[in-house]
Symmetry: C2
């Protein structure tokens, strides 16, 4: 009776089960407007529960307006509650939860997490956890922890010679998050964002999602072709001058100056994404474009590659006239970063243990880059050419005469080889179809050699005539 079946082992309390059962019946019209509920005494005895339990269930129905109770009158169902049956969802598709495993995995942008100094991090983070001041558990504002801003500024000075006031440096939840906010910050009706072509596909999506008109500017072996900027009406130019993604060029000084002149003449901003220049294997880190004009260049940095991606800490350096609006936008986007990771990273920087980790990883990644070049030479002879500066965690390689597209990548994946054609990152197709990207940072030298061998065999099997003729 009353259609109530109680589950006595359930996590849900009995009163709530009664409330839910009656509510369902009201909503589906089985209990109609004006109808009387049973007395609490009757229902309690029926269900073999205490009268108090039924009373509490009725109270919930009363508070939420499903039933009306007046002094001395029986409890009745309220008006206008019935819901017609909705059409079913239909569109609910469960995501494929298949974790693929690859025999060769040259994906880009992956630091080697096996080398992360876990014990050191646990020590520092554990100490941070004990010492975190109570006030950091509340809202602390959109700028980021002062200690971290100071330590990052000090590190930028000692590692790249970049002089930045900590007050110009704002903590973000990584580089994507920084770009997402910068896009809002710089938006001007009818103005384009100019991007390098090719350009990181994910970052491009972030800009596209903002509703920006995007204008691609071609990239050659020296980075962005600044000649092509002429006549553009832009609010911003998004560039990777220290290590062009994905082709690897260092933007030369002449083009840097041209870019700054363009920004000044058109009253636009340059967004400099310095995603991995910490890893440069010969010579010193390239000086950021930012140093040339701190009023025109917005510098975006991240710790995802130099420490670990899940840390979710990056930063943006902004001219003073953008600070106020940045704070407003950050406050209404995601408020602030959590304090714990910020405080731990500040400590890692302060003790210079960060610098030592970076030095170690630079050496390791440099060796892996060399292992990749050696393996390419061994497997492919002289049929390829590497692009770009000796930096970062990936290498762009041209195989003249070849053409690599999405279908190629898919076919390779079916053979358990993950590798990205540069075409994946291009906007205008066909300019860089002969190039592949080899992410090597996360792979041991033996994994690299084996992977290049597997790729060679795959190419030979698929494009046999072409390859055999070249060796």
């Amino acid at each position: 009776m009353w259609g109530i079946e109680l589950q006595r082992q359930s996590e849900v309390s009995l009163k709530r089960q009664i409330y839910q059962a009656l509510r369902e019946q009201i909503l589906h019209g089985r209990l109609k407007a004006g109808e009387t509920l049973p007395s609490t005494r009757d229902l309690a005895s029926e269900l073999n529960v205490s009268r108090n339990t039924v009373n509490e269930a009725y109270d919930m129905l009363i508070v939420e307006g499903f039933v009306i109770s007046r002094q001395g009158a029986p409890t009745r169902v309220a008006e206008g509650l019935r819901l017609p049956d909705d059409r079913p969802d239909g569109g609910a598709v469960k995501p494929e939860l298949v974790t693929r495993s690859f025999a060769a995995d040259f994906r880009t942008g992956q630091p080697d997490l096996r080398q992360f100094p876990r014990y050191l991090w646990q020590q520092i983070a554990g100490k941070t956890l004990q010492e975190l001041p109570a006030k950091l558990f509340g809202y602390t504002g959109p700028d980021g922890l002062p200690a971290l801003r100071e330590e990052i500024a000090a590190w930028l000075l000692r590692s790249k010679g970049l002089a930045v006031a900590p007050g110009d440096l704002f903590i973000t939840a990584g580089a994507t998050h920084a770009l997402h906010l910068v896009a809002d910050l710089l938006y001007r009706e009818g103005k384009e964002i100019l991007v390098e072509d090719p350009c990181n596909h994910g970052m491009l999506q972030t800009l596209v999602n903002k509703g920006y008109p995007i204008a691609p500017i071609p990239v050659d072996a020296h980075g962005l072709q600044t000649d092509c900027l002429h006549g553009k009406h832009a609010c911003a130019v998004y560039v990777t001058p220290s290590h062009q993604f994905p082709l690897g060029a260092i933007l030369p000084a002449g083009r840097r100056a041209a870019l700054i002149r363009f920004a000044r003449e058109t009253d636009s901003f340059i967004v400099e994404d310095d995603y991995d220049s910490e890893f440069r294997y010969y010579g010193d880190p390239v000086a950021p474009l930012y140093a040339l004009d701190p009023q025109r260049v917005i510098y975006v940095g991240t710790f995802s590659k130099v420490l670990f991606p899940a840390l979710r800490i990056g930063y943006v350096i902004l001219p003073g006239r953008l600070h106020k609006r940045w704070r407003y936008l950050r406050t209404h986007t995601d408020v602030q970063n959590p304090p714990f990771e910020q405080a731990a990273l500040a400590e890692l920087l302060r003790t210079r243990k960060f610098d030592r980790h970076l030095g170690k990883m630079r050496k390791l990644y440099g060796e892996r880059r060399q292992a990749l070049l050696t393996a390419l030479k061994a497997c492919f002879g002289d049929t390829w050419r590497s692009w770009g500066d000796a930096a970062g965690l990936h290498l762009a390689v041209a195989f003249p005469g070849m053409s690599f597209d999405d279908a190629f990548a898919k076919k390779a994946m079916d053979s358990k080889i993950r590798i990205t054609p540069v075409e994946y990152h291009t906007i205008r197709k066909g300019q860089h179809a002969d190039k592949l990207l080899f992410g090597y940072g996360h792979l041991e030298p033996e994994e690299i050699a084996r992977g290049v061998g597997l790729l060679h065999d795959f190419l030979q099997a698929e494009y046999g005539g072409f390859w055999s003729g070249r060796e």
Copy 2:
């Protein structure tokens, strides 16, 4: 000579100082295109540094294209590098870093951080830190930690009777972040977002920043006036049905049903922001609107109030047909949450220590609410009326005949009293001018009593005749 002054105590290496000094001179035209740099031998002797140091500085200039070096020829300055002087920034305004202290601080939305079980959190977070699997340091996808999604779903069931599949629940960086993404998710050209009026000012800004047309729907003592929905072309309705912000109503069942019918008829969504209903002082938590139609209601929850704001963890429950686009948007907004806080919160929920903390805080906040009501009665007699359900961390109070606006709030602040008029949160002005918001969760009973006394004295001094006539 050459205008280079080396700072030998600097953090910046000597080679970088030389590089920077020469770069500056090139950019400012003091070293002109085609001009020859001194030989490394001469400059080394001039500056009293090793020749190798100068060589390395020149290498940096060569790599970045500031100078050109050809076999056998002297090193010359490259063409086209001079930058004209830019106009100065001018707009750089340093933010006021004054921390105000208040004699009475009734700001809303503040949990009492003094009561946060720091030791317990340190224990659990410390254990989490030691045990965090290495794979969680890499990219783990936009959904959130599976363990946390399961524990939140289990807690929603045991605390609110809400049955949710963990796969429908996505972790966010708090409620603001959730709304920021939901706004992108639901955007449809030409359609409005309907919001309660009054509505949380910060959340409204988040929607406004998205470029949405906003249509206010008035709120009365029973929450959103669903009669006023008729004829609206909306993509979504943003509501706080469990505890209307700021007026405190529980949306009654009849209006809930009307709201669901509206969403079905107009093929729109309801965004349910359940920001603080965990704190309900009489009876059980109000059942979420979500339970009535999981295909039409998007439920937003947060741990900012029940644990601490800087945790930056919230969640959103989404119909299956929105999952794919949610993942896409999150990936290109800020990628994911960091894993550490998620794992620690999952453990707090799993061990039910969270439930105990919540029970303790509910009791404490309930006492503070009572202290506020007692103090209002003692100071203001019968000249006021409280609004809304006995829930949350703030109370809306009407003083009939009075009118509170921004100027009032500012004047109060000058007297060291922080209190927010409801008008601050209204869209159409003038409907709720007689109401003030008292945030009480973060205040001890004595602080509440003292604060109400100070407010009374301030009002008497400012609006003397009015008040003395009423007592």
